[in-house]
């Protein structure tokens, strides 16, 4: 799911793997569970024009799911995270480790064991 070409190690936290807006939305969804679009814009204080396209992308990439509800005559999207923070962390980690082994083979494995020894 994570697009590896978007990984940027020089950034902080989640934004190493997601765009700042994507990271903020995911963080909000993980904290709150289900959210309407208006709640998301309020929580993240990102204007709707910037958030809408990102929401479409997150749903398409499988990080968020949404359903349509008719709340007192008005159509509303209800968003929820498709995977927990742990599951996403697990997926990203596996993907990166796979790539390290793929690129560097034994050297990568040697470093993993050194790393876990240190820990």
């Amino acid at each position: 799911m994570v697009k590896l070409d978007q990984i940027n190690l020089s950034k902080d936290g989640l934004t190493k793997f997601f765009s700042p807006i994507e990271a903020e939305i995911l963080r909000a969804l993980w904290n709150e569970g289900e959210m309407m679009t208006s709640e998301l814009t309020e929580k993240t204080s990102i204007p709707l024009t910037s958030i809408a396209g990102t929401l479409d992308r997150l749903v398409k990439a499988g990080y968020a799911t949404r359903r349509v509800e008719n709340i007192s005559g008005r159509v509303r999207y209800i968003y929820s995270p498709a995977a927990s923070e742990e599951e996403v962390a697990n997926e990203i980690t596996t993907k990166i480790l796979d790539n390290l082994v793929d690129a560097f083979g034994p050297v990568a494995l040697e470093n993993f064991s050194k790393y876990s020894d240190k820990k």
């Binding site: 679009t37 958030i51 396209g53 929401l55 479409d56 349509v68 008719n70 159509v75 999207y77």
Partner: protein, 226 residues
Amino acid sequence: MIIFGEINCLGFCLETSSIAHLVALFFVISIALLAASFIIKRPKQRLQTFVSAQVAVLLAIAATFYTMKCSEMLSFYLYLAYVGITGILIFGVVRFYDRLMIKRLDAKPAGNIMEWVQKFVNQLASATVYYYDSAAPRAFAAGRSIFVSIGLLEVLDDDELKAVLAHEAWHIRNNSRTPYLKQLAIMTFSSHKSSEIEELADSFAASIAGREALSSARNKVDKVFI
């Protein structure tokens, strides 16, 4: 059959001609451009590739005509075929563009989720309103259908939505009176050249839903509705 004789003749002419490779090149370019114009999503570039494809075909036909020293009939057939195929393409695309969009967007009748929307449009034009799954607030008309994104339904209040629907309904009412080529340009491509038409649609929308609703809807819709 005359046509086989023509083809033989063309083969002979091309073999002896110095511009055979040029004819082939123009045809390959035009087919590539035509294919590209179907793939490209950005309206302006799509229009540009489509027009360049037509120019390339015309050049190819002109080159063939120049090569055909024996007879001009084959180029005439080629030209007929070209006119026929583009005619079908233009007519087909315009006629069935909304069907294509329904499939591509997986759109569903808006009457299912907001009943009054379809009833409101019925008063203005014989068109079906569809909604599609996207958070980006957008609306456009194609064929006899109006498309609105769920994002649009989310952000607009009833009056603003009426303004947008009236704007699109105006397009549908007037599309049938617009020549096909122009209609194709308006429907598939950007609206930058049809600002007059947009203004007319806007004044109609304002007369139905009020100027205020229209301008506040405009502010909320991130892309100018086509």
